[in-house]
């Protein structure tokens, strides 16, 4: 427990040391959300309903959806892992009485907890400005599905990031992989636009992947566009993915450290 608290405290201190850099992330998010809102407002000027969405529902989709996605993101954690492998920094962890994967998980909680506070403030601003457009959840019971979905999504995203980071055991230049992953992730979550705008057959394929459960599915449940039966199915798919990814992380770490890692720079 003391180990965990020390890691958390160090990460919080680090983030607060570079406050401007930290605020920079949030300002970037602000423009991202704003640009989506502007486009939807422009489109809804000509049409009262787009693919079953009213303007209010779409604004809720963007603002509340982004809020959900802030809970599940780990803000480019793969880059940190990748850097630690390529610079040889990871060798320190091989000698320390703490598992690297556990360290990464605690560190990520430290990172997200700080980022989350600033994200919530930002999103609160959006909620206040666009209050009159926001749609209330169909019932409070939706959060019984949304909260576990968020938690599972957080760990799924984290495991994906760890896997992406571990690619650096095999290639020292992995920017392309990281960028591809981030872009695909953003697209598949439905953060660009509701993926229900696609034909049903494509939507069904997306539902098999875990990405949609951090943005699209929770907001669909919130808006009452998805049944509780589908939500249960979603949770089951997430659990399966979590298990698969956990095994993959363990295996990749084992193979990476034992067969590929050379401790560059040490």
């Amino acid at each position: 427990m003391r180990q965990t608290l020390t890691i958390l405290k160090t990460e919080w201190q680090r983030q607060l040391t570079y406050r401007l850099n930290f605020i920079g992330f949030r300002v970037g998010n602000l423009f991202e959300i704003l640009s989506q809102l502007v486009i939807w407002f422009a489109l809804f000027r000509s049409f009262p309903i787009i693919n079953g969405y009213t303007l209010d529902q779409m604004i809720t989709y963007v603002i509340i959806g982004w809020l959900f996605s802030f809970f599940t993101t780990n803000f480019g954690f793969e880059m940190i892992i990748s850097k630690q492998i390529t610079t040889g920094e990871i060798s320190n962890f091989l000698l320390k009485p703490i598992s690297y994967i556990r360290y990464i998980m605690v560190l990520s909680i430290g990172r997200i907890s700080m980022a989350l506070i600033s994200s919530l403030i930002l999103q609160l601003g959006f909620i206040l400005i666009f209050w009159k457009y926001l749609v209330a959840p169909v019932s409070l019971s939706v959060f019984l599905f949304i909260i576990p979905m968020m938690i599972l999504s957080y760990f799924i995203n984290l495991f994906f990031s760890i896997l992406m980071g571990f690619c650096s055991f095999w290639t020292t230049e992995s920017d392309g992989i990281h960028y591809a992953f981030r872009f695909a992730n953003r697209f598949l979550t439905g953060a660009f636009f509701p993926i229900s705008l696609f034909p049903v057959s494509i939507l069904n394929i997306f539902l098999v992947f875990p990405f949609v459960y951090s943005f699209f599915v929770p907001i669909q449940i919130y808006l009452g566009k998805m049944s509780f039966h589908q939500a249960w199915l979603g949770l089951a798919i997430q659990c399966l993915w979590l298990l698969v990814l956990y095994i993959a992380v363990k295996m990749m770490w084992k193979v990476g450290v034992k067969k590929k890692y050379e401790g560059i720079g040490m």
Binding site: T17, Y18, L20, N21, F22, G24, F25, V27, G28, N29, F31, E32, L34, S35, V38, I39, F41, A42, L43, S46, F47, I50, N51, T171, T172, E173, S174, D175, G176, I177, Y179, A180, F183, A184, F187, F192, F193, L197, F198
Partner: protein
């Protein structure tokens, strides 16, 4: 003098090429990624236009051209001026000392030292597509409008460079300021949509303090419909003014700089 700088640039090019050749897996991945990105752009625009025929008065081919030109400019800037993004980190770690003590123009060295070939694959894929769009949808009304659009495109590139230089030069005063590039790049993404859809406040902002309108919107507007003469002159004058400001700011920062580590 120019010969010397060309020779140095050639060395930068050779270095960048040999770096790229070392990481062939990453290179192939970048090519695939660029293909996916272009496909996503098509999916994105096609999805929007399933529900509307115009976006802020712009038709589908015009929105395509706008988005393609926007990406082209951003990627071209990434190929040419990648070094600039590293400036805040270099200042923070004291690496900038190595640049300013060299018998060369420090701005040239800082801006052009790193050529990112990975972004050039995108250009190779996109140039034929851009040309096809311009010819197929008959965007060239006259030779003069094409020349003016090209001139405005160059102005847009210079403005983009100038903004990057100004914001990264702030790194001399603020520690760990590298995120500022993410902020600018995210704001800049709004430049791939027709600015007609924006409220007036944003339109004014994007033609002045956050000049994202010049990257693609102005050149494409020139091809779409003849731009009013005053807007063409404004773009040219604004480019000169901003570039001058950026260079002066850089010189001022270098004068005030006291090394971090050496």
């Amino acid at each position: 003098m120019i010969k010397k700088y060309l020779r140095i640039y050639k060395t930068f090019l050779a270095n960048a090429l040999s770096y790229e050749a070392q990481y062939r897996a990453n290179m192939w991945l970048n090519i695939i990624l660029n293909l996916i990105w272009i496909s996503m752009l098509f999916v994105f625009i096609e999805t929007f236009f399933r529900f509307t025929t115009t976006l802020g008065g712009w038709e589908k081919p015009e929105v395509y051209l706008l988005s393609l030109l926007w990406i082209f400019t951003v990627e071209l800037a990434a190929v040419l001026f990648s070094g600039i993004f590293r400036l805040p980190i270099d200042v923070n770690e004291g690496n900038i000392d190595l640049l300013i003590v060299k018998p060369l123009n420090s701005l040239f060295l800082m801006s052009l030292r790193q050529i990112r070939f990975s972004s050039s694959y995108y250009l190779i894929l996109e140039v034929p597509l851009l040309i096809w769009f311009v010819i197929h949808y008959d965007f060239i009304h006259s030779f003069s409008s094409l020349c003016l659009a090209l001139l405005l495109f160059v102005c847009g590139l210079i403005i983009y460079y100038s903004v990057l230089l100004i914001i990264n030069t702030l790194g001399f005063w603020f520690e760990r300021f590298d995120n500022i590039n993410d902020v600018w790049l995210t704001l800049h993404e709004m430049g791939q949509y027709p600015l007609h859809i924006l409220p007036k406040f944003f339109k004014v902002l994007f033609f002045t303090f956050a000049p994202i309108a010049f990257t693609a919107y102005v050149p494409v507007s020139m091809l779409k419909e003849q731009l009013p003469t005053h807007l063409i002159w404004y773009t040219i004058l604004f480019t000169g003014f901003l570039f001058l400001c950026a260079v002066s700011f850089w010189n001022f920062a270098i004068k005030k700089y006291s090394s971090a580590s050496s």
